[in-house]
């Protein structure tokens, strides 16, 4: 499954990279690569079964701790 994800993300990068290089903006290229890298890492972690905390559950816990009486 990790191979499938690697190929999938690799394909996406290969498809968009030429237009980004043509654009000639280093900031665009860097932002794209950082965000794609982050997405790739998160996808691989999920695939190999690493449990990451649920984001909204954390928000719920904070709000319940602060506004418990009203919720």
């Amino acid at each position: 499954m990790v191979i499938v994800i690697t190929v999938f993300v690799g394909m996406l990068v290969c498809l968009q990279l030429p237009s980004l290089l043509k654009l000639g903006s280093r900031r665009d290229l860097l932002t794209y690569l950082i965000l794609m890298g982050l997405a790739y890492i998160l996808m691989v972690l999920r695939t190999v079964g690493v449990h990451l905390p649920y984001v909204t559950s954390a928000i719920v816990r904070v709000f319940k701790a602060v506004l418990g009486r009203f919720i």
């Binding site: 665009d28 965000l35 998160l42």
Partner: protein
């Protein structure tokens, strides 16, 4: 001018886009969290409160014509605080998009494709939205021109088909809900879905006639509340007291349609309504996030971020909440408090500060 927003949207397109956006997830998960004979009243009150919020957003958009909220925040709050305000707003847009994705995913996992891997589903669902965003705002609005009238048609058709199962006694007793309870529900309705209109602060700059936007917003709100009340009444009339026990009562109600054993399984129309309106909503949220983040980071092309935003929004959709029950509980309990700063405080404070500082100044580009 944003590259993805080539071409302007007309006022009638704004009506349909906003209606599609507001119906988004609320066409399946009824806002407010309660279904009882007085819910229609809470919907009307919530719509009224939502309109007050919309006036604030429109006032802000008219004060800074042609500017998205990211630019407005920077002009009003200054460079550094403006960046923090913009970042908070962009987080809200991104998270709201991910919540829409989670709702999509939950519904499909529970009702249609329980065995398909969640990641595959979510990537495909948001992928369609990403394709629309990549094509630009005009494509999203043209999709809404086709899909929203169809949704209204399907909703009315389903309401007609449910007449044989409809029991008027289920709609009684009327006006028995205590006022505080009713107001509480109406505030929930105001924050979800009506307050989410704040995301349109990223869309309104691309409207061709800003001065007519108020009438478009009022019509869109009226259409939405009409569809929601129709859906709520038909669900309550068919299911009665057991309606709140179902995860998706609107879907459940349409399952009971059976006209001469010929017209059956019409719940597929409810699914189509949800998927198409969810597509409009998620596309608008993804568009707003992509355009906002590229302006925030000062990128040359806003198309750069479409693919990464697609993947990250899909992933946050997977990492939002552990299950359907938690998602619906969050929508009805914590979300109204969570959304309050983004839907009320930030836009209102920005408008007040802009007014106090007399911004934008004469001859000064905001």
């Amino acid at each position: 001018m944003a590259e993805l927003a080539q071409g302007r949207i007309s006022n009638i397109q704004l009506v349909l886009l906003l209606t599609g956006f507001l119906l988004g997830t609320s066409i399946l998960i009824l806002p407010g969290g309660d279904i009882h004979p007085d819910t229609w009243l809470a919907f009307l009150l919530g719509c009224g409160q939502g309109l007050i919020l919309a006036f604030i957003y429109l006032a802000l958009a008219r004060r800074f014509p042609g500017q998205t909220f990211v630019k407005i925040a920077e002009a009003v709050w200054g460079r550094y605080i403006g960046k923090i305000v913009s970042l908070a707003f962009l987080w809200y847009v991104f998270h709201a998009g991910a919540l829409t994705t989670t709702n999509f995913l939950d519904f499909i996992k529970v009702s249609i494709l329980p065995s398909t891997p969640a990641m595959l589903l979510v990537l495909m669902l948001v992928g369609v939205c990403a394709a629309a965003v990549w094509s630009g705002l005009e494509v999203i609005t043209r999709c809404s021109e086709v899909l929203v009238p169809l949704t209204i048609l399907f909703t009315l058709f389903l309401a007609l088909m449910l007449i044989p199962d409809f029991k008027a006694a289920n709609l009684q007793p009327v006006l028995q809900t205590p006022l505080p309870e009713l107001l509480k529900t109406s505030v929930r309705v105001a924050t979800f879905p009506f307050g989410e209109t704040v995301i349109f602060l990223m869309i309104l700059p691309f409207l061709n006639k800003q001065n007519k936007s108020l009438s478009s917003v009022v019509i869109a709100f009226a259409l939405t509340v009409f569809i929601l009340i129709t859906g709520m009444l038909r669900t309550l009339g068919v299911l009665g007291n057991v309606a709140p026990l179902y995860v998706y009562p609107l879907y459940q109600a349409t399952r009971s349609i059976d006209l001469g054993h010929t017209l059956t399984r019409l719940e597929i129309l409810t699914s189509i309504n949800f998927l198409t309106m969810g597509f409009i909503k998620a596309s608008v949220q993804l568009f707003a996030f992509v355009v906002g983040l590229s302006q925030f980071l000062g990128l040359k092309s806003d198309r750069t971020l479409v693919v990464p935003a697609w993947l990250l929004m899909s992933l946050l959709g997977l990492y939002n909440l552990p299950g359907v029950a938690e998602t619906i509980a969050f929508t009805h309990t914590v979300y109204p408090f969570y959304a309050l700063p983004f839907e009320v405080f930030i836009p209102l404070a920005t408008l007040v500060v802009a007014w106090l500082r007399k911004l934008p100044r004469e001859g000064q580009q905001p």
